[in-house]
Amino acid sequence: MSSVRVLVGTRKGAFILESDGARKSWTVNGPQFAGWEIYHVKGSPLDPNRLYASQTSGWFGQVMQRSDDGGTTWTPVGNQFAYDGIPGTHQWYDGTPHPWEFARVWHIEPSLSDRDTVYAGVEDAALFRSTDGGETWGELSGLRTHTTGSSWQPGAGGMCLHTILLDPSDPQRIFAAISAAGAFRSDDAGTTWRPINRGLRSEQIPDPDAEVGHCVHRLALHPSRPSVLFMQKHWDVMRSDNAGDSWREVSGNLPTDFGFPIDVHAHEPETIYVVPIKSDSEHFPLDGKLQVYRSRTGGDEWEALTNGLPQRNCYVNVLRDAMAVDSLDSCGVYFGTTGGQVYVSPDGGDSWNAIVRDLPAVLSVEVQTLP
């Protein structure tokens, strides 16, 4: 019988939650790397026992960990993330030039074709790749050195490269997203990049439809149809049907279109999920009611999913990397909150249960569907 392994990164360590395919009874392992911020843990799609973790600390910097036994034991691997050449400057919050400085790894994306190749999205925004299982890292500097790079600026969480999507139908194509620069695409395996932000509109920048400067919070795609992209922007939920060449807003009847994560059902490419948050100044659900919204039409028409979620006095946030779906026949949807809850819906969002309620603030959630 299939099973699932949920990889949870929190402010104070990593947790691994495991269940059989019913997803009703769970074991909780952790904390691993206790006391450290674990921004992301993700497994190789080729070898589910190969996991990578980003372990970071304001005191001690960045550590990368690798496991080859599904998270039972870990080995520290390479943590040298050196920008190519003289990094130059980007915009600081006040618009003045600020030197590019490595802070941490936000997101890890293992390769679809080679278990030893893995990508890392970092703050200050850049994309790195390792081809030796994380032992050494080299920058794909065509992204950071794009002609617009000096105009990129940080979002509230820092200038982070937080989304890396690998196109399963075209190994040359990579999507990346940066707060607050926008979305980018490479069609040559990461050597050169171009902004793909046409159609985005952001009132927080001088030119609302500028080529870059948009605070994209998350991108998602369905592997069967990788030219269709979904985006949760700072405000607005967006959709592209041409691999990002242009975008249109699909916020539709959402009660608020601010939020962080967005994800796609494992078997229904037009079914997508977001978690509406009140506003950019009030990072909590509307009216204290935690609601996932689902669209079965690829956007525009949304329904609230509330069964099993707190509908009063709930003021948590759900961060951009803290939602995932499994690929069991009845697609499971998972998300973690800054209040330490990790919720699962084993029925595509119709009903929800808390796997755990009292973890440290959840930074990321990934799920592996195991045979």
């Binding site: 006391g35 450290w36 304001g58 005191w59 001690f60 910097g61 550590v63 520290p76 943590n79 040298q80």
Partner: protein, 98 residues
Amino acid sequence: MIRVVLPAHLKALARVGDEVQLELDGSVTLGTVVGAIEARYPMLLGTIRDRVTHQRRPFIRFFACERDLSHDALDAPLPDAVARGTEPLLIIGAMAGG
């Protein structure tokens, strides 16, 4: 023999106990001691000081013999008591909550 006490998180990362003991040939300075620590425990590279510039991480402090050595030059001799092993070099994570 040089004795070094690491912060709790770095003890866990390096999988060491309360104290690390080192034998050093030559001068006993912050630079040589931290370098010896990094050589024996490569997983600590970058966690105490920058891997390239060797600049101390901002929230790391070096104490010994009731003195703050954090701002001493990397090639300045450590106190005799540290060089003799009667006092440890304390590598401290700055007291900043968390």
